[in-house]
Symmetry: C2
Subunit: 208 residues, 2 copies
Amino acid sequence: MEKRSKIPEPTVARLPIYFRCLIELKENGVAVASSEDMAARAGVKASQFRKDLSYFGEFGIQGLGYPVSHLLDRISSIMQLNKEHEVIIAGAGNLGSALLNYPGFQKWGFKITRVLDNNPQKIGKKLGDITIEDIQDIPKNLNSSIGIIAVPASAAQQVAQTLIQSGVKAILNFSGKKISPSKDIVVRNVDMTHELAILTYYLSVENK
Amino acid sequence: MEKRSKIPEPTVARLPIYFRCLIELKENGVAVASSEDMAARAGVKASQFRKDLSYFGEFGIQGLGYPVSHLLDRISSIMQLNKEHEVIIAGAGNLGSALLNYPGFQKWGFKITRVLDNNPQKIGKKLGDITIEDIQDIPKNLNSSIGIIAVPASAAQQVAQTLIQSGVKAILNFSGKKISPSKDIVVRNVDMTHELAILTYYLSVENK
DNA sequence: ATTGATTTGTGAAAAATTTGTCAATATAGA
DNA sequence: TCTATATTGACAAATTTTTCACAAATCAAT
Ligand SMILES: NC(=O)c1ccc[n+]([C@@H]2O[C@H](COP(=O)([O-])OP(=O)(O)OC[C@H]3O[C@@H](n4cnc5c(N)ncnc54)[C@H](O)[C@@H]3O)[C@@H](O)[C@H]2O)c1
Ligand SMILES: NC(=O)c1ccc[n+]([C@@H]2O[C@H](COP(=O)([O-])OP(=O)(O)OC[C@H]3O[C@@H](n4cnc5c(N)ncnc54)[C@H](O)[C@@H]3O)[C@@H](O)[C@H]2O)c1
């Protein structure tokens, strides 16, 4: 089955969960895991785990289960986590700084190479190893394919355009402002305020 | 239609998007918006917007559209955004500090009342108005219903238990570690590393 | 080599969600 | 008051996603 595309987006969103489980199993020295084991760890049904994998090929051994190390390699490769990816952060504020300092990204192969801002007080300052650069001075056609938007909502659209001009093909947008869709650019939005609101909704439902 | 519960979770997840759009419309002085207008702003189909609302009641005027202010009130009330909610942050690290300083939560009625940590070097220090407290000293039965987990993955489960013991009923978990489900506790996970991985997956699909 | 115990991969069924359609209805203007 | 226009609310259809259930495959033991 070599049909990349038209893979259900919920399936894609579960791959990183499986990836994380496999890393844990590998660290624990587990060589083989059944779909039942994996599903329990991942918090899904075993049939769903198997169906998800089936979109990409056959990775298990019937009667036995899945060789952890091999499956990890395959999922790595499917998600491109076997390569390093350069990431640009736009916005050296509270969130941008937290993201920059986060070592977890490195472990998954995400390397933050630039941090951009438009505040003259920040430009030129160092955050860890990285010097904050003026977003206006950013060259076209960098080879970072991923950009993170950590600027205020009011600047999000414009900053998205700047990132795209510099060669970014995928955007993780924390601003809460919708980025108008551009051809061939993948955007994901993370809105923490929404998450809190969803919680309060369910709180009110729980209490009948 | 008074059936709270069994409302599709994608519907619930879109309510905050609609809420945000309505705030914007109200700020722009728009009194009435059609489902077409709303949907375009929210990035969904008009029929979906109408369907989503239909789970909660009838808020529109046929031939005219939706009175912005009234709909905003209703969605506020449905999502409980017409009340203030106290929030406890566990983990006064990079992310916890960013969240604490974020004024956007206040605007939606989320008030961060406590920040907890277990690091003696941090306990007692001030972050803005708030003094970091020892997570071990936290009283039972506080009236914060929401807790945010911003501690390392290895501590997430234990911290979740502590939060629950202190009366928290809903958890926003940033740790990337699954919290084992507890009765009547709502959990949402935000995993930024996963988001980046999903982006790289789609990048590879885009490029055929 | 045969048997028994497992567990995968998948086609089909079921469930959930999205989208299309249109009668009903409200408004504004004649 | 009547008519033309716009737009909702809901039902039905279409699509997507999850779950079921079992034949096929592998292994270990005899
Ligand atoms: N901090 C949080 O916990 C949090 C939570 C939810 C959402 N967010 C969202 O994340 C984004 C960043 O939040 P933050 O708390 O880091 O804000 P912040 O104000 O601390 O930082 C924003 C940074 O962006 C820079 N900036 C502004 N306009 C710019 C432009 N045009 N080009 C380049 N840089 C520009 C500012 O100089 C500042 O350094 C915001 O959109 C916010 O709504 C943050
Ligand atoms: N910083 C980011 O941008 C980012 C991105 C993705 C995920 N995360 C996740 O968010 C969480 C927090 O990240 P961070 O960067 O703020 O980490 P951090 O190390 O900066 O902060 C963690 C804080 O938790 C405290 N802590 C540790 N164990 C504790 C315990 N048992 N009880 C109370 N406090 C405890 C530490 O003292 C520290 O202050 C981590 O799970 C991380 O994986 C962070």
